[in-house]
Symmetry: C2
Subunit: 237 residues, 2 copies
């Protein structure tokens, strides 16, 4: 990288903002880590000490710079920023998947990554258009969980289906079948639609529609909450 | 109200930003609604037509003003804003409760309100310091669900416990008991701690500690996801 600039999707590197995501980066993807910036205002807590020690262990530059941290962390009020090269992990042919169609909220995407890891799901397919998994906001919402996941973007749901023969379970609000009464046949893919629009009629035709039982008093659940309920029920831990 | 100004906690009124939350306001709390502002850019979709008709039915002023909507909706890019007087609903003595100790993210608070309503929980206790349930961001994340809930703020968890004799179930990450193996004795209160700090040691002493089974690969789940998993399992719909 030539010089430090605010994150953009087109860059081939990104940032971890804060102690926790930076620790996860250094622990699980040290080979991708370019350097770590730390503010002079950072207290020398256990997290910061661990970060320094991991940097030394892997020969990663560890640089004090209040201005760089301030510029990159922006409103986040964090004292540590990691810089890493983007990478493109393949998703497994045999493991169960989570497939997100057109997610448009980086907080939701990150939260779903965190929840996947908590319940033993390691493989995430994302159908475009979609929010950027390497956006520092996504990484922060994931608490660094993305560094322990495999993920792949696809231009269309069709492209994903050509590559993987997983049984598709499509989460919708209007199915007569509820997910807690269904036998999921592995390998499967749990498919969730966009926050506002849900899954299109075309997408709904490619697999088994299932619903989460809920009151008619609400229109739908939050996307990350829906995924959380389903992943908990099917947990692989 | 004298004149329209950006939301502040100290005001005795607040705003619903967007069609959906404003419809929920007019449907469930028409008596609290002072007026509705609409932008000239709003398409006359079904939602807007319903809003106009509810305003007429309840004699609520319905005012076209691009500047007012722009000022109040800010980055939200919404075309409808409702104005309502704050109100203070009591929570039930006999129904099961959700109790949030020091929640500090308005998105989480709103998402939990939405999830509560989806699973038939109507009574929410919030222990201060805590984010403001009437903040338009909370209302939006709730999709207007707060207008169908009862909620009460308490200065301390002790004050809540003096008033209600509910069995307390405290969600923590380090309990040997997991919530899916436990018999919950009603009326109960499901108690969740702060996003970062969790429940304090003192708070953990006042009831039954329970955990959501999860991998050790993550530190914890997102607060709204945790609540969603528990509320789904104990759903009353």
């Amino acid at each position: 990288m030539s010089k430090i600039r605010p994150y953009k999707k087109a860059l081939d590197y990104s940032y971890t903002i804060g102690v926790f995501p930076t620790l996860e980066l250094l622990t699980h993807k040290p080979g991708q880590t370019q350097m770590v910036f730390i503010s002079n205002k950072a207290s020398t807590n256990t997290g910061v000490i661990k970060i320094k020690s991991l940097c030394e262990q892997h020969n990663i530059p560890f640089i004090y710079s209040d201005t760089t941290v301030g510029k990159l962390a922006q409103a986040d009020n964090a004292y540590v920023v990691g810089v890493f090269s983007k990478y493109f992990p393949d998703i497994s042919d045999i493991a169960n998947h989570v497939t997100l169609v057109n997610p448009d909220d980086s907080g939701n995407l990150g939260t779903i990554c965190r929840t996947m890891l908590a319940f033993g799901f390691k493989d995430l397919a994302v159908i475009k258009p979609a929010v950027d998994i390497f956006n520092p906001k996504t990484i922060r919402a994931s608490m660094g969980a993305i560094f322990q996941l495999n993920f792949s973007y696809f231009d269309r749901l069709e492209d994903y289906r050509k590559q993987f023969k997983h049984a598709l379970y499509l989460f919708v609000t209007d199915s007569v079948k509820t997910f807690d009464t269904i036998e999921f046949s592995a390998p499967y893919s749990l498919v969730f639609g966009n926050e506002g629009a849900g899954l299109s009629r075309n997408a709904q035709a490619v697999g088994q529609k299932v619903a989460i039982p809920q009151s008619t008093a609400v229109d739908s659940l939050n996307l990350a909450v829906s995924a959380g309920i389903v992943l908990y029920k099917l947990r692989q831990v």
